[in-house]
């Protein structure tokens, strides 16, 4: 905290912001006004802000529907609600102070129970920090459409409600269960999806239903007669290239789904896609928001607008947020993205403003540059994986005392592969970057083939990453897939030596999901 700067000059110029713990709408308004002014001073580019005050119960509601103000109904959201409610009522866990929604305008929920200080902190953190990240970062810009998301969710909820009315709640629920099981394999990782637009969705939905159905039928109608079977061995696979987006493949090609079922699959897929960037930018995004609430509030304090009592309370929460317990602490729960992100952004600023020789050697292109420009560039063009690979400095690694451990199930002992010394910096950075690589975090399972000429069975291929097997629940997921596909589904594993073995097989026909209609 930079409290040593002279701060008497500005004191008289402006009335200090209200202090104390009780908030009022006027007070929030004033805080917002001042924070906005300072944010503009730092050239943060943001969506318009919409602050909404809600109660703890409403916060739990929002939790339950994955933070969105509207969502379709499903029992799993109820389960999450009950879990949150229980934890909260027994005082085992606090609720987040805020939820912020990547939409335009950017909606920030403030909880009624927060003190005035917390409201100020939350506004700076969510409404300016996260908000500017949502607007600037390339992943959010390409993968999500802030203008349309609320409308789309509304459309989705109404559509699914209609389906429930028409086809029965149970049929829809089973379908959603299956889709949810495949949700994390229902995103395009490398292909940019088209933007959402409510108007277009509605307009096209009908068209799409008919078109899709005709496409699917075509696929199977052109089945050649059995006598061609002899040379089937050399036939091309379908799909010609493996498909990573399982839900997409199901939506477009599952032979037995009805049009409304395809639409539901599509909805789940779109929602999954919407959350995809968030999963990839946790360190950056949280670090960014934390850096900005810290910087903005300190700036206001230096101007003499904030009371000392405000700063004390703020610094206490801030310190809690960025605490990183060591690996052997009982509080340890992995690397804290807030702590790592905050340290990295702070360090980038330091490298820009006050570089030493080490920094010049490691970061010749940014050492001594204008920090705001460097920040803007880094925020716009990276995700966690590349951000760590690019900007994790030796100093941060030293400060965190990072070390890497290899756990190989073929060895009887763990091995420390790198620590925070000159020899280990690069390796450490590489490993950490890999750790945030979604490809390494989630299993690589792709659609490999459909037996067009035979029993219509679907084959998935799992290419293990560093020999890691699939976890429990795989069988269950395959059953769900079989329900969607309607015929036999298989899961193969491609070993390192190129050998392919069959791991799971769910026989079809009996698992066909038929609508009750």
């Amino acid at each position: 905290m930079k409290t040593t700067r002279p701060r008497t000059r500005d004191r008289a110029a402006k009335a200090p912001l209200p202090s104390g713990s009780e908030w009022s709408v006027e007070a929030i308004d004033r805080y917002n006004e001042e924070i906005a002014r300072v944010a503009a001073h730092y050239k943060l580019d943001i969506y318009p802000v919409q602050v909404e005050i809600i109660t703890a119960e409403q916060m739990m509601d929002a939790y339950a529907s994955v933070g969105m103000p509207v969502n379709y109904h499903h029992w799993s959201f109820g389960k999450h609600f009950l879990a949150t409610e229980k934890g909260y009522r027994r005082g085992q866990m606090g609720l987040a102070y805020e939820i912020v929604i990547n939409s335009n305008p950017c909606i920030a929920y403030l909880m009624e129970e927060n003190t005035l200080t917390m409201q100020g902190l939350v506004i700076a953190h969510a409404a300016y920090g996260h908000n500017s990240f949502f607007k600037g970062n390339y992943l959010f810009r390409t993968w999500t459409n802030a203008d349309a998301i609320i409308d789309y969710l509304l459309f989705a909820r109404n559509y699914i409600t209609q389906c429930e009315e028409r086809h029965g709640e149970e049929a829809v629920e089973l379908l959603l269960d299956s889709c949810h099981a495949l949700m994390n394999l229902g995103v395009d990782r490398y292909k940019r999806p088209p933007k959402l637009s409510l108007a277009k969705e509605k307009l096209r939905q009908q068209e799409r239903e008919e078109y899709l159905q005709s496409q699917v039928n075509d696929l199977w109608r052109t089945l050649p007669a059995h006598d061609v079977r002899a040379d089937a061995r050399g036939e091309a696979r379908f799909p010609p290239e493996p498909e990573e987006n399982l839900l997409y493949f199901v939506e477009k090609n599952a032979p037995l789904l009805e049009p409304w079922q395809r639409e539901v699959v599509r909805i789940v897929r779109k929602v999954a896609q919407y959350f995809f960037p968030q999963r990839q930018t946790q360190v950056m995004n949280e670090g960014w928001a934390t850096f900005w609430h810290y910087t903005l509030l300190n700036h206001l304090y230096d101007e003499g607008l904030l009371a000392d009592s405000f700063m004390l309370e703020f610094l206490q929460s801030h310190t809690n947020v960025v605490a990183q317990p060591p690996y052997n602490s009982r509080w340890f729960g992995g690397l804290n993205p807030y702590a790592l992100g905050f340290a990295m952004w702070r360090d980038i600023r330091r490298i820009c403003e006050d570089p030493d020789d080490e920094d010049r050697r490691w970061f010749p292109e940014i050492a001594g540059s204008d920090w705001l420009e460097t920040f803007d560039f880094a925020m716009r063009n990276f995700k966690d994986e590349s951000f760590v690979a690019q900007y994790l400095s030796p100093k941060v690694m030293r400060d965190f005392r990072l070390f890497a451990v290899v756990d190989d199930d073929h060895e009887d002992k763990l091995e420390v592969s790198a620590i925070h010394d000159d020899a280990g910096f690069r390796k450490l950075r590489e490993i950490l970057s890999d750790q945030y690589n979604l490809g390494a975090r989630e299993p690589n399972v792709q659609v490999w083939n459909v037996d067009l000429r035979g029993d219509r069975s679907l084959t998935l291929r799992h290419t293990p990453f560093r020999r890691r097997p699939l976890g429990e629940g795989t069988d269950e997921v395959m059953r769900h897939l079989a329900r969607l596909w309607g015929f036999t589904v298989r899961l193969e594993r491609a070993g390192e030596d190129g050998k392919v073995e069959l791991v799971h097989e769910i026989r079809g026909e009996t698992t066909r999901p038929r609508a009750t209609s």
Binding site: Q50, D61, H73, F77, A181, E415, R468, G471, T474, E476
Partner: protein, 422 residues
Amino acid sequence: MVRIIDRRFDSKNKSAVNRQRFMRRFKQQIRKAVSEAIHGRSIRDLENGEQISIPARDLSEPSLHHGKGGVWEQVFPGNDQFSTGDRIKRPLGGGGDGAGKGKASQDGEHEDDFVFQLSREEFLDLFFEDLELPRLIRTQLAKVTDYKTRRAGFTSDGVPANINIVRSMRGALGRRLALGSPWVARIRELQQALDEALARGAEDSEEVRGLREELAALRARIDRIPFIDRFDLRYNNRVKEPRPTTQAVMFCVMDVSGSMDEGRKSMAKRFFMLLYLFLTRSYEHIEVVFIRHHTVAKEVDEDEFFHSRESGGTVVSSALELMRNILRERYANGQWNVYGAQASDGDNWDNDSPVCGRLLGKEILPWCQYFAYVEITAGEPQNLWREYTKLEAAHDNFAMQRIESPADIYPVFRELFKKTLA
């Protein structure tokens, strides 16, 4: 640029639907948990909500993810002792998630039970779901019928307070038009003739005078039509409709003799507590008669029934006699659904059991819709049970069950009052 919206007074239970769906989906598990939860409860807090826990694996949401095994290379903070190349023993506890090492976060699967709170309503709903009083007759019009008034159009008769102005005035207008119409037509003709005559310039002629007189006479007749007449009046009509209600009375007969030890009494009380809760919850108008007996029987109120500590020897027939007397005195007019539930350890004075059998078979069961006997005993069936077994064969409105331990109470209760398809 900023908008501040206070949403605190918006609807709260956005997740209510999701919650209901969750409850519906896991009804089986929840019901099981509810019936297990009831064992541990004291009489007094039966009516509270309940903490329910169901195994987490039953409601897991599967997904494809990495399992244990293969190679994991991970970065940890807070190095205090390691240097590159150190080899460390795998932490105990399998794949190494002790002390934060290994791959704690990847597995993410734990088998803790999923615990949540049921509200009182939800709890009792589940608790008494699918239970009913057997053979309840709903069609009779009871003596204490309650009425419901409902609108039934309009009448021409009533009290001034019920006059319907619009209807009345509409009627009056119609009547005036109808009564005046022949003269109105005639007036029109005469007026035309008069106008023609005047146009001809015959101002003082006989014809004109005659026309004028006739016109005046007709106008006077129309004016004499009353503006509103008695039979224009319309009154709002409300009729009282008797609604069929059920009248039911439940006799709770509990043995509090010395042979009923503390444990048995508590089981009996719990059984009746359940019954009482069920009746008061599910049926609006029901009378409950509490009878407790040792050597003498006594009609008591609810509070005394559940909480009095008086005790003595055992003559079961005394209670049945009292029940018969009350039945004859108060509920004999054929308009009551009569139910009985008796709990005892079955340890009766030997000569008394046949008396009981006779009383019940001849003088009580014929008037009863349903009578349930619960014997609370861990060992051999007692003499009362043997006596009652004869009745069970002869009367289909008689049921008997045994409760050996507190765990049986709820299942037995469900068995006795389960819904039967008509």
